[in-house]
């Protein structure tokens, strides 16, 4: 059974692996083994979700992050090229900012006592990916995939999953073992 009307989101670290070439980078001194392992996990996840006909939500801030390697002129070209594509792009809106405020409040003022006083908050700990989590929640995504285990500490209605995990609500029999994907290819 194929899930219909299902939506997932990737954080910038997972996107990074998927936006790259379809083939994994060649092993060399410059490329750590961990990178190749994560790359392969991301590609497998992508194939698994594609096969199950999941749709993907691309937060606009992920596009910004992806485009930061380009010059401002090239960034203009990049965004213009995406204009007429029907990609589901999730903007950071007024309501997203309210969702994010709730998420951050729960994390830094309710759960983590050391951040009780706003003066003690270490802003670097307010993860960039929490912005993506807020967009995913606004769009009612089934899951947000991340390589950052700490993101799961943020309180959200969206399931925060690692790349090895299946989306929530998927029956066991619907799960596609990794080897079956390899066989079909």
């Amino acid at each position: 059974m194929t899930p219909k009307n299902k939506l997932v989101c990737f954080d910038s670290s997972v996107f990074k692996y998927i936006f790259r070439d379809k083939k994994p980078p060649r092993r060399s001194k410059d490329i750590p083994v961990d990178y190749i392992v994560e790359f392969e996990k991301a590609q497998t996840l992508y194939k698994r979700l594609t096969k199950l006909e999941y749709r993907i939500l691309v937060p606009s801030i992920v596009l910004s992050e992806s485009a930061c390697i380009l010059s401002p002129d090239d960034q203009n070209k990049f965004f213009s090229k995406l204009d007429d594509k029907n990609i589901l792009v999730g903007d950071f809106t007024l309501s997203t900012s309210r969702i994010l405020a709730k998420i951050l409040h729960m994390r830094y003022y309710k759960e983590d006592r050391s951040h009780k006083s706003h003066l003690k908050i270490d802003k670097s700990k307010m993860k960039y990916d929490s912005l993506i989590l807020a967009i995913a929640e606004e769009w009612n995504c089934d899951a947000l995939y991340t390589t950052d285990g700490d993101l799961g500490k943020y309180y959200s209605k969206v399931a925060v999953l690692s790349m090895d995990e299946n989306p929530p609500g998927l029956f066991y029999t619907d799960r596609i073992p990794l080897e079956s994907i390899e066989e079909e290819e």
Binding site: N5, K6, Y46, L70, K81, I87
Partner: protein
């Protein structure tokens, strides 16, 4: 097995059915019915609710106890009643659909006029279980806000005799009901069961941040890319922009 009755009790000095006009009594019931239906439809937009899904079973005479039996749509009815009670108890009326909030306003006015309190609960085998108590609406608890938004998905219903609506099933599976003009309903009826994008003003609960209502200003066809197509497009755009 004894059924579980849904009960609204209005408690106040000298408050009993014979001190009420027939109109007041029937309006209380009508408002309760509307509040329930609005919650059910907001949670299950495609739900067809038969007129007698709940009916008046009994009126208790110590105070006014309106006891209603659930005749059909048991699961949805109890779910709506539970949500209604929780909203009253917590003060999060903001999450209520407009019509439920109208009903609550009526109960609030009634309580003020009669110096009464509304107690909401269930009754099984004669035993009453109190779920919530309501005196009046605290205006400070109402804090919804509006945001212009474009929503994407499949148009699963459009039209309506008096108040035309469009129901959109988003790609996440969430269904959202929007108000549209009759002209827009006629113009876009051919998009039924097709993918669309709808732009309009969404009213959002300040407490739950969930959409409460959606006024649709425009509808147009939209064919979302698959996951593979989306990734390929972004990848290609990145490469060709360097």
């Amino acid at each position: 097995m004894n059924p579980v009755l849904l009960e609204l009790r209005f408690i106040g000095k000298n408050l009993k059915p014979k001190t009420l006009s027939i109109k007041e009594l029937t309006t209380l019931l009508d408002r309760f019915d509307r509040a329930m239906k609005a919650i059910m439809v907001s949670r299950h937009p495609h739900l067809e609710i038969p007129p007698n899904y709940i009916s008046l079973e009994n009126i208790k005479h110590n105070s006014i106890g309106l006891q209603c039996a659930v005749n059909s749509l048991d699961e949805e009815s109890y779910e709506a009643f539970s949500e209604f009670s929780e909203g009253i108890q917590s003060g999060d009326y903001d999450n209520f659909p407009a019509e439920s909030l109208d009903s609550l306003n009526y109960f609030s006015t009634f309580n003020k006029k009669r110096n009464s309190t509304m107690v909401v609960g269930t009754r099984k085998s004669g035993r009453f279980k109190k779920l919530a108590e309501f005196k009046g609406i605290e205006k400070s608890k109402l804090s919804s806000f509006s945001d212009t938004r474009t929503l994407y998905g499949e148009l699963i219903q459009i039209g309506g005799k008096t108040n035309p609506k469009a129901i959109l099933r988003e790609y996440s599976g969430r269904e959202i009901q929007g108000d549209i003009s009759k002209e827009m309903a006629m113009k876009n009826s051919h998009l039924l069961y097709k993918e669309i994008k709808a732009t309009g003003v969404v009213k959002i609960s300040g407490h739950t941040l969930a959409p409460l209502s959606f006024r649709i200003d425009s509808i147009s066809p939209f064919k979302a890319l698959t996951m593979e197509e989306s990734i390929d497009s972004i990848r290609a755009a990145l490469k060709s922009s360097k």
